[in-house]
């Protein structure tokens, strides 16, 4: 019983973080039809900035988080404005490879500027201690982080569904020409989507890094969110919540019953299965062209 509960709750709490990562990937895909393979770099960068500054500067966490999120948001906007914008109208993989190039730049930059193998982040608002749920014990901090991630992702889903900003971004992604004829400044929509997605990546990186350690593992978390994005449906913003939680549950059960080292490989097997048998994902649009 406790093993089952730890699989479910552990999986859901990881899935909550996946959802937050996935929604960033989906926003970028909705707006500019690109996979951002540098998403993990943005997560790691934001977490490293906070972790590094907490060591020396003595500034309160809130200010450090704002600084770091501002930096990654601006970087995302600059990446789109000065690099990826020129891939518009070219085959899709052009922009994808360009994000890989940016990931290499970020990796090298991190190697030079943050020499220590890992850092840690302390968020003062989190409680310490542990809670026992049906015989399985969890750290309350990681449960609080997961709750925060779920609430934030759900709030974003609602924003995209019901506000005019959400409608603008969705329209810009669907048909840029018609959207611009309708009075939407399409360039700002693109740049804004990238900045928003990168800020979300930063939030995910900082919160995940606060309950785990800040190292290269954060980048792998982003790569594991791609299968989640496909499972939920790449173009579906509510789908990122479904896909993230679903993939988290898969990971939780694999970790509890098979072994932690199998999580990555099973996640990618699910990705291959989804690609071949359910290419539009659970909640995606069926007309998404993939064949």
């Amino acid at each position: 019983m406790s093993e089952l509960m730890s699989a479910i709750i552990g999986g859901l709490s990881l899935g909550a973080v996946y959802s937050l990562v996935t929604i960033g990937i989906v926003i970028v895909f909705r707006a500019t039809e690109t996979f951002n393979f540098a998403h993990g770099s943005f997560m790691l960068l934001a977490a490293l900035i906070v972790g590094r500054l907490q060591l020396g500067s003595g500034l309160p966490f809130a200010i450090l988080a704002l600084i770091s999120l501002g930096i990654v948001g601006a970087l995302g906007a600059l990446l789109f404005r000065f690099v990826l914008r020129y891939a518009v109208g070219r085959p899709h993989f052009v922009a994808v490879i360009a994000t890989l190039g940016f990931a290499a730049v970020a990796d090298g930059f991190i190697g030079v500027v943050f020499p220590d193998p890992q850092y840690s982040i302390t968020i003062p608002w989190l409680s310490k201690g542990s809670a026992t749920i049906f015989g399985a014990t969890f750290g309350t901090a990681s449960l609080e982080i997961s709750g925060f991630a779920i609430v934030l992702t759900a709030a974003l889903v609602l924003v995209f569904r019901f506000t005019s900003i959400g409608v603008r971004i969705r329209a810009g992604g669907q048909n840029s020409l018609l959207a611009s004829q309708g009075g939407i400044n399409i360039n700002w929509v693109y740049v804004g989507s990238w900045a928003l997605a990168c800020v979300l990546a930063g939030i995910a990186g900082i919160t995940y890094g606060s309950v785990n350690s800040v190292n290269q593992g954060i980048e792998n978390l982003a790569l594991l969110a791609f299968p989640a994005a496909l499972l939920g449906g790449l173009d579906s913003i509510p789908g990122s919540l479904i896909g993230g939680l679903g993939m988290g549950l898969v990971g939780g059960f694999v970790a509890a019953y098979v072994g932690g080292e199998y999580v990555t490989v099973v996640t990618y097997l699910v990705l291959l299965a989804v690609m071949l048998f359910l290419p539009h994902g659970i909640a995606g649009t069926r007309s998404v062209r993939r064949v």
Binding site: T34, F35, V83, L84, R85, Y86, A87, V88, G89, R90, P91, H92, F93, V94, V96, I97, A98, L100, G101, F102, A103, A104, V105, A106, D107, G108, F109, I110, G111, V112, S176, L177, S180, Q181, G182, G183, I184, N185, I186, N187, L223, F226, P227, L230, E261, Y262, T264, V265, Y268, L269, L271, L272, M275, L276, P279, R290, V291
Partner: protein, 363 residues
């Protein structure tokens, strides 16, 4: 590269005519010219260079073999793969396995190559249904699968330290490095001849047609599935041979040396050199391999920092990351086919973005 806008359709004859229309540099001559340059370079460095110089030459030759193979798949065939480190790992591990099972030196590498051909066939299967960036994701999945299997095999047999192989050649270090240089040169020459032969005839036309317009290719009677799988098989087999040679050359194999970053560096090679060309991957292999070696010297020339050598690989990563973005976005033809830009006012992408923006400004 799939052509998606009608306006870009005019690019087809230009790109396809890479083999012809070069005047005196016809395909045959270009092929042997490149091999001759490589022979002269290897002869020069093995005769005059230190064992470290020859080691770098060996590394470049190895990288060039893999880059040519990836270029056949990505440049000519248009199949995007970021999983080439997976085939490299698979080749290395099967070679280790065959070697431990008693196969002598050249045969264990050949077994590694054949195993990778089969693996390439399997990884190629999703390419029949998906393409472009989705295929890139599928090859990423292949990368994690290969990484996992290799890791399991390694921890079950020898543990974290990895496998060690006995040196292939006898003699001093510098004699060994020189023997490797000639062996790798031979393999590279064979790869060049194979790749240029595959590209020049019917198969080359078929792959370029599939790359430029898959639907049109199938309408013209090109067996798309067969050619896609063939591209994956041949490219993976060559990369597998490269992996086997790499295992013997370095003398040790461990799963943590086959990273995603390694895949990206090979992509950097073919983009910097220029897709779908013979000289391109070789130029790219030289540039990307030399970067971590030259970067500390360049940095020391300006600021004299002892950390530059230590962080050399990081600086190199920054530089080739930037080069990937520059060559992907601004100079998609790479160094080997770089020409001064004709007087066309704006690139397609910028123009498209402008037309999208202009009405929005008015509104």
């Amino acid at each position: 590269m799939t052509i998606q806008t009608p306006a870009a359709g005019s690019a087809v004859p230009v790109r396809g005519s890479g083999a012809r229309g070069l005047g005196w540099r016809s395909l045959v001559q270009q092929k042997f010219l490149i091999i001759a340059v490589a022979v002269i370079a290897v002869a020069f460095f093995t005769a005059t260079g230190s064992s470290y110089t020859v080691y770098i030459v060996d590394t470049i030759l190895l990288a060039a073999i893999g880059a040519l193979a990836l270029d056949l798949l990505m440049g000519t065939g248009g199949q995007v793969s970021i999983g080439n480190a997976a085939f490299l790992a698979a080749g290395a591990y099967v070679t280790v396995w065959a070697s431990r099972s008693g196969a002598p030196f050249p045969f264990d590498v050949i077994i590694g190559g054949l195993a990778c051909a089969v693996a390439g066939l399997i990884v190629g299967l999703p390419a029949l249904r998906i393409r472009g960036m989705y295929l890139a994701l599928a090859t990423l999945a292949a990368f994690y699968l290969a990484d996992f299997v290799g890791q399991q095999y390694q921890t079950d047999t020898v543990g974290a330290a990895g496998f060690f192989l006995n040196p292939v050649f006898a003699g001093t270090i510098s004699q060994q490095q020189a023997s490797w240089a000639w062996l790798l040169l031979g393999v590279l020459a064979a790869t060049i001849i194979l790749v240029s032969w595959l590209r020049s005839g019917r198969s080359g036309r078929a792959w370029r047609m599939i790359r430029d317009h898959e639907v049109a290719a199938s309408i013209m009677g090109i067996p798309v599935a067969r050619y896609k799988l063939l591209a994956f098989m041949i490219s993976s087999a060559i990369i597998g041979v490269q992996g086997g040679l790499l295992a013997h050359f370095t003398g040790s194999v461990s799963y943590d040396s086959f990273t995603l970053g390694l895949s990206i560096s090979v992509i950097a090679m073919i983009l910097i050199g220029g897709l779908d060309s013979l000289a391109g991957p070789l130029i790219g292999a030289v540039v990307v391999t030399m970067l971590p070696i030259f970067v500390p010297d360049v940095i020391n020339a300006f600021v004299s920092s002892p950390a530059a050598t230590q962080d050399a690989s990081s600086y190199a990563e920054i530089i080739y990351g930037v080069l990937i973005m520059v060559f992907m976005i601004a100079a998609p033809k790479g160094l080997s086919r770089w020409r001064p830009r004709p007087a066309v006012p704006r690139a397609d992408g910028a123009a498209a973005a402008d037309t999208a923006r202009a009405p929005a400004r008015r509104a």
